[in-house]
């Protein structure tokens, strides 16, 4: 007993003597949910970081423990989820464990972790960065295991992934600051662990700021190889280009982005098949998507599913202050596939480069239905009153997406489309030092279905019971720090995922209490409508949560 106590005393003494140099951080997140539709989850995340600060270097160790049985989305997890050991000094950084790296603007490498979508492209391995004066060098080597839920495999479950792709990747990026500009070169090799598929990607980028703006250019090429046992290897080549230009006129900025990704161009029968296209864009490639990332509820659910394999697009954005208290934003996006597709004899073939209306989508996006056209215009006015006690955001959004080409011959055409007009509005009023209220209202009219043409007769077959889907979201929040109470309701007249017995209204109440500055408890009761959830072009169908309780507790233990 005495020996044991002495051990503890020694341990505590030894440990506390290091305290002056060692720094700890601990974060705990507990999540629980139980809905009527068997939507239950229990998750505990504990993150601990240990840092040794010295005058000329820093050592760090990070451990993430995770218990998810089951998690809200993803695979069951119990124990150490990942770790990272790092050495950092003025010029050098060496990391061993789970690392995330980005080169340039992500055309070749942009590793992300979107927990809410269960999309994690972090690699376990070695990440070295060296930076001195005008040069920077990055070297990586490691393995990734991104996972997805796909209907191309059996046992599809929107919450549990049924497809895991294990890959080994290694490569290097070098950048140099030249007088008035920056240049970068990258090369990345990948090998699949369970299939004889390998790829090599190389790229260059150039960035030049000037007096009233800046210019960015990035180009990549990708060559994939499928080794076959009894025949010659197959190869697939692709490339991508991204241009961005921003011009400032006083406080206003006009940005134009252009992208042309032809990593793996496939006909409509194979376009969305993530299993059989060995030449497709890698999950670690998160190229600039060129779409507006909305923060309004209905707009974020109506997101465009980005296709990084085959897309040509333009984005224009104007933003600036109208006066001291008001800001205007106008964003226009247009994109299409790089080829139109025609099916006359039972197989798909690309349309000639010059399409019927004279436009070519070899360089610019097409509006032809056979080319998956997409258009979105978003206008938002935001501002404050003179006293800054009232803030508002009011917008307009037009969205038109042809996301499936089902038939296109001289006698019949069939395209699946989604069109919507949305008016989002939000106002926040500060009543006094203690009380604040916020109202959010969104109105949306959508049209979803098939545009058919048979023998020159055009018709529209709706996926909905009504011709138009009318969606309404209303949220009301009362803030009285440290409390916050939100009542929300969402309703629709028709939805393709609902059966006649399902409710078409989703009500909820959420109470948030900030116990301390970074110690927050949120209790939610009610329903959440399901649908598409997208972040930077990564989309996932989220199933609805019906009449249930959710508790989320997050605390920083420092």
């Amino acid at each position: 007993m005495r020996y044991s106590i002495n051990k503890y005393i020694f341990f505590v003494f030894f440990y506390t003597s290091l305290i002056a140099q060692i720094e700890y951080s601990n974060h705990l997140n507990i999540r629980y949910g139980d809905g009527d539709n068997n939507y239950t989850y229990e998750e505990i995340y504990f993150n601990t970081g240990i840092t040794l600060n010295r005058s000329d270097y820093r050592l760090e160790a990070v451990f993430n423990l995770e218990l998810g049985d089951p998690p809200e989305i993803g695979l069951k997890q119990k124990g150490l989820a990942d770790f990272l050991f790092g050495y950092y000094n003025r010029n050098l950084s060496v990391e061993l464990g789970k690392f995330y790296q980005t080169w340039g603007r992500g055309l070749i490498l942009n590793q992300v972790d979107y927990q809410h979508l269960d999309f994690d492209t972090g690699a376990v391995g070695l990440n070295i960065e060296y930076e001195k004066d005008y040069i920077a060098l990055s070297i990586i080597a490691g393995g990734i295991e991104p996972r997805r839920s796909t209907t191309f495999l059996g046992d599809y479950d929107p919450r549990v992934p049924n497809y895991i792709l294990k890959q080994t990747l290694y490569g290097s990026d070098f950048s140099i600051e030249l007088p008035g500009s920056t240049m970068g070169l990258s090369i990345l090799f990948t090998e699949e662990d369970e299939a004889p598929i390998s790829s090599v990607m190389s790229g260059m980028r150039f960035e030049k700021p000037y007096d009233n703006g800046d210019f960015f250019l990035s180009f990549i090429s990708k060559k994939s190889k499928l080794d076959k046992v009894n025949s010659d290897s197959e190869t697939d080549k692709g490339n991508g280009i991204y241009l961005s230009n921003t011009n400032y006129i006083k406080d206003w900025a006009l940005t134009s982005n252009y992208r042309r990704y032809r990593i793996d161009v496939k006909d409509p029968s194979m376009r969305d098949n993530i299993l059989s296209n060995y030449g497709q864009a890698l999950d670690v490639q998160r190229s600039p998507t060129g779409y507006y990332q909305h923060s309004f509820k209905l707009l974020s659910r109506n997101s465009k599913q980005v296709n990084l394999n085959d897309e040509i697009g333009l984005e224009l954005e104007l933003i600036g202050p109208i006066d001291e208290n008001r800001t205007l934003l106008v964003n226009y996006t247009k994109s299409s596939s790089t080829k139109g597709w025609h099916n006359e004899f039972g197989y798909w073939e690309p349309e000639p480069l010059t399409t019927t209306n004279g436009n070519s989508n070899s360089l610019f996006p097409s509006s032809d239905k056979d080319s998956y056209p997409f258009d979105e215009l978003f206008i938002e006015l935001s501002g404050y009153n003179e006293a800054h006690t009232l803030s508002y955001r009011v917008g307009f959004d037009y969205f038109s997406d042809t996301f499936a080409v089902l038939a296109n011959s001289n006698t019949s055409e069939s395209f699946e489309v989604n069109k919507a007009i949305t008016f989002p509005f939000m106002v926040n009023v500060t009543l006094n030092d203690l009380w604040n209220i916020e109202v959010q209202l969104e109105l949306q009219r959508a049209k979803k279905g098939f545009e058919l043409t048979v023998n020159d007769e055009t018709s529209f077959v709706s996926l909905l019971s009504d011709e138009y889907q009318k969606n309404i979201f209303l949220g009301f929040t009362v803030n009285h720090a440290p409390w916050s109470l939100t009542l929300a309701t969402e309703s629709t007249n028709s939805d393709e995922s609902l059966s006649s017995s399902d409710s078409n209204t989703w009500n909820s109440v959420a109470l948030t209490y900030r116990i301390k500055s970074d110690n927050i408890l949120e209790v939610f009761y009610g329903s959440i409508r399901g649908g598409l959830d997208c972040t930077n072009g990564v989309c996932r169908y989220i199933q609805p949560f019906e009449n249930g309780l959710r508790i989320d507790y997050s605390v920083n233990l420092n």
């Binding site: 506390t16 720094e23 951080s25 995330y100 980005t102 720090a481 927050i520 420092n558």
Partner: protein, 159 residues
């Protein structure tokens, strides 16, 4: 082993402290600097993104509050947008007059190193920093939080 783990955990919580690391960071203008070159005696550090409405509200509110302290508080805004959204971040920063002031620094956390170190998700996550020591840490923004910022900043300046 379990006992040692528990003791380790308790000690690490009891003795936990937090400073701003002297990490190399990339600014919006692509220049690389040390984070300590940006932090003044007193600094306000916040993780944000262009799509995060509470973050922008916090920024706006903070810009008014900061004026009360002349140029004694530096503001470091660590952006967590995707690298493909750099032009959007630049346009946004240009549209806010106050962000062009000398005390504001926009840091681009491209490879999420800082976000991970501070468990920054969900954002906004904000710190008030005195001589590189984090003296106040807050997640989320509710209108009225500016009174807490003021109280914390006054406490530092009145020491």
């Amino acid at each position: 082993m379990r006992k040692y783990s528990i003791v380790f955990l308790i000690l690490s919580i009891v003795f936990a402290q937090s400073t701003i690391p002297d990490a190399k960071v990339r600014l919006l203008n692509n220049k690389t600097v040390s984070l300590h070159e940006l932090t003044g005696d007193v600094s306000f550090v916040s993780f944000w993104a262009t799509w995060c409405i509470p973050c922008i509200k916090e920024m706006d509110v903070l810009s008014e509050l900061i004026q009360e302290y002349d140029d004694k508080v530096s503001v470091i805004l660590i952006n967590t947008d995707d690298p493909g959204k750099v032009s959007k971040v630049k346009s946004f920063v240009n549209s806010k007059k106050y962000l062009k002031g000398d005390i504001y620094h926009v840091v681009m956390d491209y490879n999420q190193k800082l976000s991970r170190r501070f468990n920054a998700q969900p954002i906004p996550l904000s710190f008030i920093v005195d001589n590189n020591n984090i003296v106040y840490r807050k997640r989320g923004f509710i209108p009225g939080d500016e009174h807490i910022f003021k109280k914390e900043l006054d406490a530092i300046f009145n020491q």
